[in-house]
Amino acid sequence: MSTAESTEARTRRTPGLVPVAETLSSAERRPAEPVPPLPPARRPWAFWRLLGSELELTFKRPRNLAMLAVVACVPVIVGITLWIVAGDEAMGGLVADVAGNSLMLTFASFSFLVLLLMPITVSVVAGDSIAGEAGAGTLRYLLAAPAGRTRLLAVKYLNAVVYGYAVTAVVALSALVTGLILFPAGPMTLLSGSTVSMAEGLTRILISVGYVGAGMAALAAVAMALSVFTEVPIGAIAGTMVLVIVCQVLRAIPQLSALEPYLLPSRFTSFDAVLRSPIDTGALMSGLVTFGAYITLSLTIAWAHFSGKDITA
């Protein structure tokens, strides 16, 4: 703005015209304030910077690292156990499959972990996402920064998805390394009896990681939807776990078999479609559609509630 204007404004408020007692404490004598700076522009990388900060927070937090360590141990334990019992010639089925090929341990580990332990780790991170910040009070400072409610939700969700994929990848890597150490490498025999090359086997592991990770992303969306409703992270985490367990119970009731395709955990185990020859893409696709539906619905609920929520913690 022109300096002429502000000088004029200053001279108009001649200090002498104001009663002395008042000038002591009033703001009238303050020099004309500096011209406000340009409206601060949004930085193009702002979203990614916040996501980076979120990932750093997640992957430096001891609790989350401990969970990764635990899921990494399971394939090792499973592998060693199977290696010991495989000495017994009479064993067949899963034990024989795993003992026969180093790559099979990955699938065995997924089937051990995908119904409980991996969902726990993902619900801890996703359930804590908003509720944890609200409970600690940091949410009010993030929003005042201003992080933006939609932006924060998006960052939090992407972060949980990355963590879900990290858990899945850690399980696969740990199983792969353990398998390669304990069991013979070479062509892999599929469930249908046909054999594929090791390279083909590794590709199928990659596909199963993609699929299981997508399942974890769907679970993360459900946990986020619960997370926006509470300031107690344990509530959102436990709530998600209760849902997972209720689904397992429902699956076990034969009269309710019509429900089964719609339950999230039933779809988690469909990763074994990669062990068919050829890959049962139909099963994978319908699983992915279910995940997509859960993600859309849950995130819509989360957004609808969070965008208008009073932050009083």
């Binding site: 703005m1 009033s26 703001a27 304030e33 011209v35 993030l142």
Partner: protein, 316 residues
């Protein structure tokens, strides 16, 4: 006018304007009731009120954390998304990640501001820590901070960028006397640089020392607002004289035209526009032995008690 002149630079008049701002919580509690507040730019504005009078709720509405039931508010004459990056805030005490260091905590909140340049983050965080005297503890985990250090870190977080407005909710809570003085000095320094400061407090003396303007809340309603001078305007400045010659002093004061002359442990009267030094000279000239001479300005506490009637109790 140069080409880079700010487009739509916020009107110079007010930093905060609320009109009819009301918050009724679920359950029927009316925390803020039809609040009409105007905080002039450049002022240090004290927002006073007893516990539970709605100060924090008002601040939450200003920051967009809580949606008003009725009425509206604006910051710096801008939309909230535009205004908030220029506003530093401290709301209801510090809140940080206990497992991060003070510095890492500030980096986190800086990352949440979409307008903050990442390139200067390190430098800005260093400056903010320096301003609140926390540089030495920057690498310490927040978990291990003392209450006062936490409060300082919260103030540092409010100073991460160039701010046009600072909203501080009880900034001296938990600080030692030294820290309290430092915060007061900091607020003055920030205000002198042109930043408007809106500070809530229930410490009357503190507001009196720091602020140019004040508003007083009671059970969600505004009972007064204005410059400190206008708030104390209804009450006169008094002189108090400590003297063994009380009767003589009273006579002189009355003779000079001072009003409401009272004789007790000491002699006091309202100044009625007289210069205190002239009054003193007159007393000494008349042979009154003056041991002590004081000009007593009306304290905000007097004003407050006058306005709310019943002191500083929590109402509903």
């Amino acid at each position: 006018m140069e080409a880079g002149a700010p487009i739509g630079a916020s009107p110079p008049s007010a930093a905060i304007v609320t009109s009819g701002l009301t918050k009724r919580f679920r359950g029927g509690q009316v925390a803020v009731d039809a609040l009409d507040l105007t905080v002039p730019r450049g002022s240090v504005f004290g927002f006073l009120g007893p516990n539970g009078s709605g100060k924090t709720t008002t601040i939450r509405m200003l920051l967009g954390l809580v949606a008003p039931t009725e009425g509206e508010c604006s910051l710096l004459g801008l939309s909230r998304a535009e205004a908030l990056p220029r506003v530093g805030a401290l709301v209801e005490g510090p809140a940080f990640y206990p497992y991060l260091s003070g510095e890492a905590n500030l980096r986190r909140f800086d990352a949440a501001d979409p307008t903050a340049p990442a390139g200067t983050a390190r430098q800005r965080i260093g400056q903010a820590l320096d301003r609140v005297g926390l540089s030495a503890a920057a690498g310490k985990r927040y978990r291990n901070y003392s209450l006062g250090m936490r409060q300082r870190l919260a103030i540092a977080a409010a100073l991460l960028g160039p701010r046009e407005l600072l909203i501080l909710d009880e900034p001296t809570n938990g600080l030692d006397p030294q820290g309290t003085r430092e915060v007061r000095a900091l607020v003055k320094e920030i205000a002198a640089a042109g930043t408007t400061v809106f500070v809530s407090s229930h410490l009357l003396a503190e507001v009196e020392q720091m602020c140019t303007h004040a508003a007083i809340m009671r059970t969600g309603q505004l009972v007064a607002q204005g410059t400190m001078a206008s708030l104390s305007g209804g009450r006169a400045t008094r002189v108090r004289i400590d003297t063994p010659d009380a009767a003589e002093a009273a006579r002189v004061l009355t003779g000079l035209g001072l009003a409401d002359v009272r004789v007790g442990d000491d002699v006091s009267a309202t100044l009625e526009g007289h210069a205190p030094e002239k009054v003193n000279a007159a007393l000494v000239g008349e042979g009154v032995a003056v041991r002590g001479f004081a000009v007593v300005r009306p304290s905000l506490e007097d004003v407050f008690v006058g306005l709310t009637g019943e002191g500083f109790d929590v109402d509903g």
